[in-house]
């Protein structure tokens, strides 16, 4: 069963998960700055309501696909912060044994079919999962997360068109955070709203306030129902904003500090939801502080776990290329590396 936002406890849980994403990424930001986390890191702070709202509408059996900015989607889908963080640290205990890192996380047990940092590539994969659902009469759907920038990429159009033409059970959630790297929305698109494009595929295009977790939840839940009923995909454009640079270390010459601060002060999804629940008498300050302390403790433990986890064995780098290892790779591992080659035939 999908979760709901129908009870005060469920609403508090959604708020907690948004806080978890925020705090997870605070830790990632700091640990990355201290050179503890290798590679590239892209944070999704400011966009928590999209990830949590959408994934609250999904069941454990539903699949998601994601992008280079995948921490929020992963945590919202049910991945545990400790193993996710261990993956960012490149550790054996990470979801992909340290093979993927921040940009390539998958966990099929939680329906997380994979982060695909090639911009646009997550979209056909979700369409393909939709084919599986359709062919097996499954009671799950595929939900694709992609950015506004990706909607300029060819394979995105192909994949949405294919899903629309075949009425596949897919929900496309475009997170319009208004930037693609340093390019503004207007520099990349000649439409006011990306949802307009849905008309070109003959599917519904919904625009939703991506800072409002309830609105995202309701829109994705309705799109999911539509998909399950055999009525095909929905294109959901969630208007949102990212607080951090494109990647950690980005100097952000393309926007002003004031713009970011205005969003943080006035449109923060966590503040908005907290106020809403408080106004409805469902959340006291004490409850919120307890929630925050609990999330902080979870993250303290996750950081300890990731830091102390074992590195993967270097020689395991040759595993998992194929299901059965190729003789070429085995030959490299066993022979060429050790004797350096003797020209064969043992002269």
């Amino acid at each position: 069963m999908a979760q709901t936002l129908d009870t005060p406890a469920a609403r508090r849980d959604a708020l907690r998960r948004m806080l978890l994403v925020r705090e997870f990424e605070n830790r990632v930001r700091d640990r990355f700055a201290d050179n503890e986390i290798p590679g590239f890191v892209h944070l999704s702070q400011g966009q928590e309501a999209v990830a949590v709202g959408a994934c609250t509408a999904l069941t454990d059996d539903d699949y998601i696909t994601s992008t280079h900015r995948a921490h929020g989607h992963s945590l919202a889908k049910g991945l545990e912060p400790d193993r996710l963080l261990a993956e960012l640290y490149g550790k054996e205990a990470g979801y992909c044994g340290g093979r993927g890192g921040s940009m390539h996380v998958a966990d099929l047990d939680n329906g997380m079919l994979g982060a695909q940092p090639i911009v646009g590539a997550s979209v056909p994969l979700g369409t393909g999962a939709g084919i599986t659902a359709q062919l097996t009469d499954a009671d799950w759907v595929a939900t694709v997360f992609c950015g506004d920038g990706s909607v300029a990429a060819g394979q995105v159009h192909e994949a949405i068109n294919l899903a629309a033409t075949w009425h596949l059970p897919v929900v496309f959630v475009v997170e319009n955070n208004q930037y693609s790297e340093g390019m503004t929305f207007d520099e990349q698109h000649n439409v006011e709203d990306l949802a307009e494009m849905a008309a070109g595929y003959g599917i519904p295009g919904e625009i939703v306030d991506g800072q409002d977790v309830t609105a995202v939840y309701e829109t994705v839940a309705a799109a999911r129902e539509r998909a399950l009923a055999g009525d095909g995909p929905t294109f959901v454009e969630a208007k949102t904003y990212r607080y951090r640079g494109h990647f950690e270390g980005d100097e952000e010459p393309y926007r002003t500090r004031e713009e970011v601060e205005e969003w943080e002060a006035e449109r923060d999804p966590i503040d908005l939801y907290r106020e809403e629940l408080a106004a409805a008498g469902e959340l006291t300050d004490d409850q919120f502080e307890a929630m925050r302390a609990d999330v902080a403790e979870t993250m303290d433990e996750a950081v300890e776990f990731a830091r102390n986890a074992d590195e993967p064995a270097p020689e395991d780098a040759y595993d998992d290329v194929f299901v059965e290892p190729a003789p070429e790779v085995e030959a490299f591992r066993e022979r060429m590396r050790t004797d350096g080659g003797d020209g064969g035939d043992g002269r």
């Binding site: 699949y63 696909t65 990470g94 979801y95 992909c96 044994g97 340290g98 093979r99 993927g100 390539h104 996380v105 998958a106 966990d107 099929l108 079919l113 994979g114 695909q116 090639i118 590539a121 979209v123 056909p124 994969l125 979700g126 369409t127 393909g128 999962a129 939709g130 084919i131 599986t132 659902a133 359709q134 062919l135 097996t136 595929a142 060819g154 394979q155 192909e158 994949a159 068109n161 294919l162 033409t165 075949w166 595993d319 998992d320 290329v321 194929f322 299901v323 059965e324 190729a326 003789p327 070429e328 030959a331 080659g341 020209g343 064969g344 035939d345 002269r347």
Partner: protein
């Protein structure tokens, strides 16, 4: 004939029929198998899948719009969630349109996710010159794909290999790109009739035994090489590697140890290609057995021209193989 076809009841069939039979048997055997490609309802490219749509319906054999990246990408997504898709790219040159999905998604998904997902995807790619189809519809691109870690590549030269390898490709839990040469669909030969028959990916076939010189030849050039072998005054061993990656180095090196002479005939461009790989493999393994300069037969590094006279010029045939054999003596 390869060991795998020995002691089996066979019938004479073309490569086209052998491929169709293999796909049909796999569709019958496993509900998770489905085919998608352009014009599949009308028999697919070069009629290879003719009749399958009528027999199995749209769900199992489906027409796609013209969107190769989405076809392959959706194939990866369907494969990773439990299906066994077969995606037809019609002309192998179109791999350029969806190279990202082949290289980055099909080839790397399992690895980068630490083995979490399997990608039992088959991509059919139809290649080769000879139909005056010009540069964008005549290329032989298997070297590009065989070069990609995480993707297997096969390219049969006989009907038996076509059937057995197609079945292995569909059953493989890894992504396999299946290269079909479009000019040899009507090549006939014995094909085992039973539906258990497979050719393992990674196993070469000694098509003709010989003592003096080894010719390793793929696809159309296998037939051309067998013809060339009849024209030279030497005992020629002809081997179809069948599987390009993984490649059966042992069989190739053993043959070179016996003959001391090597010709590699493959229709892809000569530079940085399959020829170089095969030569390197056998030289690594059997350097001290090489008695003569090794020879390559392939396409000079040009795209395939349109004009029939120019196409004939750049595309190798039996004469080129014969001359290469003679240069080893």
């Amino acid at each position: 004939m390869s060991a795998t076809t020995a002691d089996r009841e066979t019938e004479t069939a073309s490569i086209r029929e052998a491929l169709r039979t293999a796909l049909r048997e796999e569709l019958l055997a496993d509900d998770d198998v489905f085919i998608m490609g352009q014009d599949e309802e009308d028999g697919g490219s070069f009629e290879v899948t003719a009749g399958l749509h009528d027999e199995f319906g749209f769900d199992r054999v489906r027409n796609t719009p013209i969107s190769e990246a989405a076809q392959v990408g959706a194939g990866v997504g369907a494969a990773a969630t439990g299906m066994r898709p077969v995606v037809n790219l019609s002309f192998a040159d179109f791999v350029g349109v969806c190279f990202d999905q082949v290289m980055n998604q099909a080839g790397k998904t399992r690895y980068m996710f630490g083995g979490a997902s399997e990608v039992p995807l088959t991509i059919r790619a139809i290649e080769g010159a000879g139909l005056n189809a010009a540069a964008q519809h005549s290329g032989t691109v298997h070297t590009l794909v065989a070069h990609l870690p995480g993707v297997k590549a096969v390219a049969p030269g006989t009907p038996a290999a076509a059937k057995g390898l197609m079945k292995s490709a569909v059953r493989s839990d890894d992504p396999v790109v299946f290269f079909e040469n479009k000019t040899i669909y009507e090549r006939h030969g014995p094909v085992p009739v039973d539906d258990d028959f497979t050719v393992p990916i990674g196993e070469a076939s000694v098509e003709q035994e010989g003592e003096d010189v080894t010719v390793v030849a793929t696809q159309r050039l296998l037939g051309e090489s067998l013809a060339a072998a009849r024209d030279v005054d030497a005992s020629v061993e002809v081997i179809d590697p069948r599987s390009l990656y993984p490649l059966d180095t042992d069989t190739l090196a053993a043959s070179l140890r016996k003959t001391g002479r090597l010709v590699v005939a493959d229709e892809s461009p000569l530079s940085y290609g399959l020829h170089a790989e095969i030569v390197t493999r056998v030289v690594e393994d059997a350097f001290w057995s090489v008695d003569a300069p090794v020879q390559r037969v392939g396409v000079p590094d040009t795209p395939i021209p349109f004009s029939p006279s120019q196409e004939d010029e750049v595309v190798p045939d039996a004469d080129d193989v014969r001359r290469a054999i003679e240069r080893t003596f």
